[in-house]
């Protein structure tokens, strides 16, 4: 036994690393629920209490959980549900129905989904039911037949609640909220949304039926807490098999979080967003650089990951352009400067380019117009330029008005990094007037 334990505690490094990656990946990617939601204790209590009352007392309720993306709405709800289902009385009693505004894009689909999740379709045998109207009548009938004390409470969880408000007449919301306000089967309608103005979306009569309970998840997380969170997220759990590696890893994480450059990177991220999802992405990138030969996260890994995260998406595209396309973009930049952001067409860009060729160019050959046109179209396909007219068919390609979707800084940065960029092109780009 002891032998085995010793053996276990000294796993090969590679195995340890794969273990670590498995544990941490599950944390970052599978959104595993934490033991206790951090920084939202009061909201947690409120929601738990509310749902418990529905489950235990059969009281109908409706509530909205509002918070920006990545603020932990779903996490909070799932924590509450997990806790609720642990209660013995509740376990067999509640019927959760999960709906998502992105999946159930109209009421017909939503109704079908509700019926399926409530297992009501068994009632009608294997008959597929007919019309939307029948469906609605069927469900309403089912809910109406229940009463507070005898029927099982139904928890309607509407993810992306705001999208349900865009359904025709808001029929589904009206009916669900109406049930929650009348003596029918007990229901709890839980909406999750990131829109702060969600109530304004509701029709008057729907709004009146909503209980106006909103749980706001607005994290006022300080940087210190953020840093602590990073540390705890990266640390290994206590039950890690190899104790030696466990100690080493946790120590390395501790030192990592004290490193100034790492703190700077995290501060930058924190300034940008307090969202845990983007943090997870960053840590995931850093984690993927850990290998058997390098069994710890080094500050450089984090810096590199941060660079990948922060990189401008268009800069990468610019790096892959040909010289001709780059020249066209510079010509467009000059046109933008001259005409103060007014749209341009191909002819203007071509003229500008020709001027450059005549005056300054030594390294660039003269291209035929169709070739230049082709390059222009490529830029359009890459969405670096965008057509301003909606009716593209009527106007000749050369005269379609376009706008550049690049910032000056992006162009200059791309030029700096462009491999073997001719100096005259660079100079042309820098010069104030073409």
């Amino acid at each position: 036994m002891s032998k085995r334990k010793v053996k276990e505690t000294h796993m090969p490094v590679g195995e340890c690393i794969s273990q670590v990656q498995m544990i941490l990946r599950e944390r970052f990617c599978h959104q595993r629920l934490p033991e206790k939601p951090v920084g939202m204790e009061s909201q947690h209590k409120h929601l738990l209490e509310l749902l418990r009352r529905t489950a235990v007392h059969g009281e109908s309720n409706s509530v909205l959980i509002v918070g920006p993306r990545g603020s932990g709405k779903t996490m909070l709800l799932n924590c509450v549900l997990r806790e609720l289902l642990e209660v013995k009385d509740v376990n067999k009693n509640v019927l959760p129905v999960h709906l998502n505004g992105l999946l159930q894009t109209d009421d017909r689909i939503a109704l079908k989904e509700i019926t399926r999740q409530l297992n009501l379709e068994n009632v009608v045998g294997d008959k597929v039911f007919g019309s939307f109207a029948e469906n609605l009548a069927f469900l309403l009938e089912a809910l109406k037949k229940g009463d507070r004390s005898s029927s099982r409470p139904v928890l309607f969880i509407l993810d992306e609640f705001d999208l349900f408000a865009h359904h025709k007449n808001q029929t589904l919301l009206y009916n669900l909220l109406d049930v929650s306000q009348s003596a029918q089967a007990p229901v709890a309608v839980i909406g999750l949304t990131c829109r702060l103005d969600v109530l304004e979306l509701l029709e008057k009569r729907v709004k009146s039926r909503f209980s106006h309970r909103q749980i706001h998840l607005l994290s006022s997380l300080s940087f210190i807490q953020y840093l602590d969170n990073v540390r705890s997220q990266l640390s290994l759990p206590q039950d890690f098999p190899d104790t030696k590696f466990y100690d080493e890893w946790n120590d390395s994480i501790k030192t990592l979080c004290e490193d100034q450059s790492v703190v700077d990177v995290l501060q930058r991220h924190y300034n940008s967003s307090k969202d845990f999802r983007s943090l997870h992405l960053l840590l995931m990138l850093a984690l993927s650089r850990v290998s058997a030969s390098k069994p710890a996260i080094k500050p450089t890994d984090l810096l590199e990951a941060s660079r990948v995260c922060m990189v401008d998406s268009k800069a990468n595209i610019l790096h892959g352009l040909s010289i001709l396309e780059l020249c066209l973009i510079i010509a467009m930049k000059h046109l933008n400067d001259i005409y103060e952001g007014e749209p341009f067409n191909f002819q203007m860009v071509h003229n500008e380019f020709k001027k450059f060729l005549q005056r300054k160019s030594h390294s660039i050959h003269n291209f035929d117009k169709p070739v230049v046109m082709k390059a222009f179209e490529h830029l359009q396909q890459l969405e670096l330029i965008k057509s301003m007219d909606s009716s593209t068919a009527k106007i000749q390609k050369e005269y379609q008005l376009m706008k550049l979707l690049l910032d000056h800084s992006q162009i200059m940065e791309a030029l700096q990094k462009y491999p073997q960029c001719p100096t005259d092109v660079k100079q042309w780009a820098m010069s104030a007037f073409g």
Partner: protein
């Protein structure tokens, strides 16, 4: 079912047949013997005669109305063809909410005897479609196996409130195929049934009279009878009530009878006995007794009549419910009070007067007996009541029928028996012409022979066997004999009581009496036995149990409902819901919007207006529309529901005619045309397509139908029923204007000017000007609402309530909001309490917190909690707006500002992609309003919050 022809397909021709006879000289109406129906272009002629069961054209082609034809009459010109009918109902015609009262699944061909008064029993003879065969099935026998589709079965009666066991007598055919009768003298109408003190017990309504016209009055009459003879009521009580009520039905009845009975010698004779009793206010015992006996006499007479008449008919009677059963019950059950009156205690009476069997039977309460008692008693009363009814068909003393031989025989016999009072043996032998004296010994000995399950059954059988012999003689005679015999027995009793002699209550007397009743019953059984041996056998086999517990009788299998009509339900919970624990829980439960309050405060005026509107329409049997508007949460739907609840109550109390309430909600349907489907489904339980439903409803509301109760239709969220052509709205408002529709439409919407705004003229015009507007609640009203809901549960401070109501009244006047806030405040109070058990009242601070939660905008908090870059971006937006002097900028412009600001703040500038991400995040929270993101850098940005709010929030963050 006899083929009938719908009006759509063929034209039918109706012709009177037989010799017309004057029916009412004043009205110049003539009666006719039969009606010939033929189809145009076809030879076949259907003859309809009174007494037959007919189908009457109704709303539904497939299920026409069923009725029993009582008689035909018309005017001088012979053009107008009218008929009097006794209605039968199909289950589909029973109001939806009452269907459950049946307690079992109905037989598809089952119909119910209609005892209500709402339907006019006079119909146009030309709406008769044809004849149908109706069969009476006794209560505890199963329906015959389906196979004969043309037969309808009747088992129960329906008096608009409950299903009752149908008295088999009701189903007997009108005797002598209703020969034309001369006009009868009209009697003054009797005391109105509502005027008499009514004891609404489990009084069953069924009448042993053969005349169905009288049947229909049963509902009204049985009430009066209930006071007379309710078994549980003590006699003294009953008497006091009688004397108290000026229009005591019994007195009137007895008086009437005295007058009317003069024609029958026997009755007259008997009445002489009681003539000494003055019809003053106080009734003597003798009077009461006399009265009761009167009734008995009459009932017996009628029964004998009926029996004589029914010999020729092959109708079925419920064996257990044959009329004389009650009389046999009377010694121990109902008739207890006359004896008490005559100061003969029951105790003394029972061992002697009653046979042992009989007594034991009386003491063991059996369901069968009770039902029999219950039915019999009012039935007797109805007979009496008939006298006063001015119905054209008087079956009793004065009717020519009663002058027929059988009646005379009966009376003769009675007279004879009066003379022979002292000797019971003689009496019995005399009464029993055909030598059936089922003495106790006989009974017992024969019971040994018979293998029967129950005592009751034995007795019944014994009697039967004894009757069997005489039955070989012409059955008519038997019946007469039995009838006379019964009468004799009763009179014998009467005399016994009068004389107050113990001697007469000898065993022999009683025994001979009781089985004689049995015999009568069994004689009816006998008649039926030929046709209904099957039923008999089952009864015999089931014996007592089947008779006593009808529910246990093998009923037909429950037909599996079709999946389409399956009513789904949420599975029930395994653990029962917990009841509220502390006072705050209690308050919270009471404050929930769903809890129905005892009363609706603050809407008294509106309630009254709507109530009056609907009530008047229901009373008049007309139609109308009403439009009700008001912002959400002002109690529109709740008030109407309250009105309907009150009206339902009133109609249950018979103050107004019954009506039907249907509710549809524009939001609860997927398409305006679904309104038709839902209305039709709620009216008739049919499921059809929208177009078909519209056609059916159109037909239903435009055609006259003899049986029609007012329909009250509530249309909630009317604006959702708007269509381009507005035909749904048009129809909804047009139907009430039809003459025969009897439809009241109550519509609800939020906006006051909806008719003007969205309705075209012809729709708005039909909606009419009956409008009502529900004003938002004032703070006082809101406060009253909460207080009344809390109903003495002390959970709130007075000030706290006032704060909530003032706040809500200022904002919306929405009662739902008010209740929600209060509920939230109780939660906050509960949580803030240091100890869960020591929760105090809900204070101002709690309410303030709840109000804050619900009303305060979260934008400022959201800005405060945003990340640094997001805050910076907002500042950049404002800076760019100031620079441009516009409230709108492209992302590119803002981003330039943002970059400059970050340099000022000493932050590393972010890339465009990051900037866009920040911008999108703010857009997702709707702090910013953004154009579609495919515009990339060119998308325009606007603020969704005021600049001041943003600056305020940002300043707060920096400080």
């Amino acid at each position: 079912m006899v083929r009938y022809f719908t009006r759509l397909r063929v034209r039918r021709i109706y012709k009177w047949g037989g010799r017309p006879y004057i029916f009412d000289r004043k009205l110049k109406s003539y009666g006719f013997e039969y009606l010939n129906m033929s189809v145009e272009g076809q030879e076949a002629v259907t003859t309809v005669t009174p007494g037959q069961y007919i189908l009457i054209e109704g709303n539904d082609d497939e299920y026409p109305f069923v009725a029993k034809l009582l008689k035909f009459f018309g005017d001088e010109s012979h053009k107008q063809k009218k008929a009097l009918v006794q209605w039968f109902l199909r289950l589909s015609e029973v109001p939806q909410n009452k269907k459950l009262l049946l307690g079992r699944s109905p037989h598809p061909q089952e119909i119910f005897y209609y005892l209500g008064r709402a339907c006019d029993n006079e119909i146009n003879a030309e709406s008769i479609l044809g004849t149908v065969h109706v069969q009476h099935v006794p209560e505890d026998t199963p329906f015959p196996e389906p196979g004969t589709k043309d037969t309808l079965y009747v088992k129960l009666s329906w008096d608009t409130k409950a299903f009752n066991v149908l008295d088999p007598v009701l189903m007997q055919d009108t005797p002598a195929s209703t020969p034309p009768k001369p006009a009868l003298p009209l009697f003054p109408p009797c005391a109105s049934p509502t005027a008499t003190p009514v004891s609404r017990g489990p009084v069953r309504r069924a009448l042993p009279t053969p005349d169905p016209t009288v049947m229909r009055r049963a509902g009204s009459v049985s009430d009066t009878r209930a006071t007379m003879s309710a078994g549980k009521r003590s006699t003294l009580e009953a008497e006091s009530i009688h004397s108290a009520s000026k229009l005591s039905a019994s007195k009137i009845l007895s008086a009437k009878r005295r007058g009317s009975a003069a024609d029958t010698p026997g009755v007259r004779k008997k009445l002489q006995l009681s003539i000494g009793a003055s019809p003053g206010k106080k009734m003597t015992r003798a009077d009461v007794l006399c009265e009761l006996l009167d009734e008995e006499m009459e009932s017996e007479k009628v029964i004998s009549l009926k029996l004589s008449s029914s010999v020729s008919h092959s109708l079925q009677h419920g064996c257990s419910l044959s009329p004389m059963r009650s009389v046999c019950k009377t010694p121990n059950g109902q008739r207890r009070f006359p004896w008490k009156l005559s100061s003969i205690s029951l105790d003394r009476l029972s061992p002697t007067a009653l046979g042992e069997q009989d007594f034991s039977r009386a003491t063991t309460p059996s369901r069968r007996k009770e039902s029999a008692m219950a039915i019999r008693e009012p039935a007797l009363g109805v007979l009496a009541e008939e006298d006063s009814e001015d119905s054209p068909m008087q079956p009793i003393a004065l009717t020519p029928r009663s002058k027929r031989k059988s009646a005379q025989l009966v009376s003769l016999r009675i007279r004879k028996q009066l003379n022979l009072l002292d000797n019971t043996q003689e009496l019995i032998s005399d009464g029993d012409d055909d030598c059936f004296v089922p003495s106790k010994k006989d009974l017992q000995s024969s019971s040994d022979e018979e293998k029967t399950v129950s005592e009751e059954e034995t007795r019944g059988r014994n009697c039967k066997t004894s009757v069997r012999t005489p039955h070989k003689t012409p059955s008519k005679k038997v019946c007469m004999a039995v009838g006379g015999f019964c009468g004799a027995c009763v009179i014998c009793f009467y005399r016994n009581l009068l004389d107050n002699t113990q001697k007469l209550f000898s065993d022999g007397d009683d025994d001979c009496f009781v089985p004689s009743m049995k015999a009568l019953q069994s004689s009816t059984d006998e008649e039926k036995s030929e046709e209904e041996t099957v039923v008999r056998k089952t009864r015999g086999r089931n014996g007592k149990t089947s008779a006593r517990t009808p529910c246990k009788t093998p009923s037909k299998k429950v037909t599996p409902s079709t999946p389409r009509h399956a009513t789904p339900s949420i599975p029930s919970r395994t653990v029962p819901a917990r009841q509220p624990g502390n006072i705050l829980d209690e308050a919270r439960a009471r404050l929930h919007v769903s809890s129905v309050p005892e009363s609706l405060p603050c809407r008294e005026q509106e309630f009254q207006d709507i109530y009056n509107f609907v009530e008047s329409k229901v009373m008049d049997g007309t139609g109308g529309c009403m439009y009700i508007s008001g912002v959400p949460g002002t109690g529109k739907t709740a008030t109407i529901h309250e009105v309907i609840r009150c009206l339902q109550h009133a109609s249950d109390m018979d103050e107004i005619p019954t009506f039907r309430f249907i509710e549809i909600n524009g939001m609860k349907m997927t398409d305006p045309h679904q309104a038709y489907v839902q209305i039709l489904q709620k009216l008739t339980d049919q499921k059809v397509t929208a177009d078909h439903a519209a056609a059916l409803l159109e037909k239903r509301f435009s055609n006259p139908a003899p049986k029609k109760e007012t329909t009250v239709l509530l249309v909630d969220e009317l604006d959702l029923l708007w269509t381009r052509k507005q035909n749904v709205m048009y129809n909804l408002f047009d139907w009430p204007t039809r003459r025969h529709a009897r439809l009241v439409v109550l519509t609800i919407a939020n906006t006051m000017d909806l008719p003007e705004r969205i309705m075209i003229n012809r729709v708005a015009s039909r909606l009419g000007l009956t409008r009502m507007s529900f004003q938002p609640y004032s703070f006082k009203q809101l406060q009253q609402i909460i207080t009344s809901r809390l109903n003495k549960v002390k959970a709130f401070e007075e000030d706290a309530l006032q704060l909530v109501s003032r706040k809500v009244a200022a904002l919306s006047g929405d009662a739902r909001r008010c209740l929600d806030i209060c509920r939230r405040a109780t939660e906050i109070c509960e949580h803030s309490a240091s100890h869960p058990s020591s929760t105090g009242l809900v204070r101002m601070s709690h309410v303030m917190e709840a109000l804050d939660e619900m009303f305060s905008s979260s934008y400022i908090t959201a800005i405060g909690c945003a990340s640094l870059q997001e805050q910076l971006f907002l500042r950049a937006v404002i800076a760019e707006f100031r620079r441009l002097g516009l409230e709108e900028a492209t992302f590119q412009q803002v981003f330039v500002q943002h970059r400059a600001l970050s340099r000022v703040e000493g932050l590393q500038p972010i890339s465009v992609s990051e900037g866009l991400a920040v911008c999108q995040r703010l857009g997702a929270c709707r702090l910013l309003l953004l154009e579609a993101s495919r515009l990339d850098m060119l998308q325009r940005v606007r603020l969704n919050v005021s600049q001041d709010d943003v600056l305020y929030a940002l300043k707060a963050v920096r400080d």
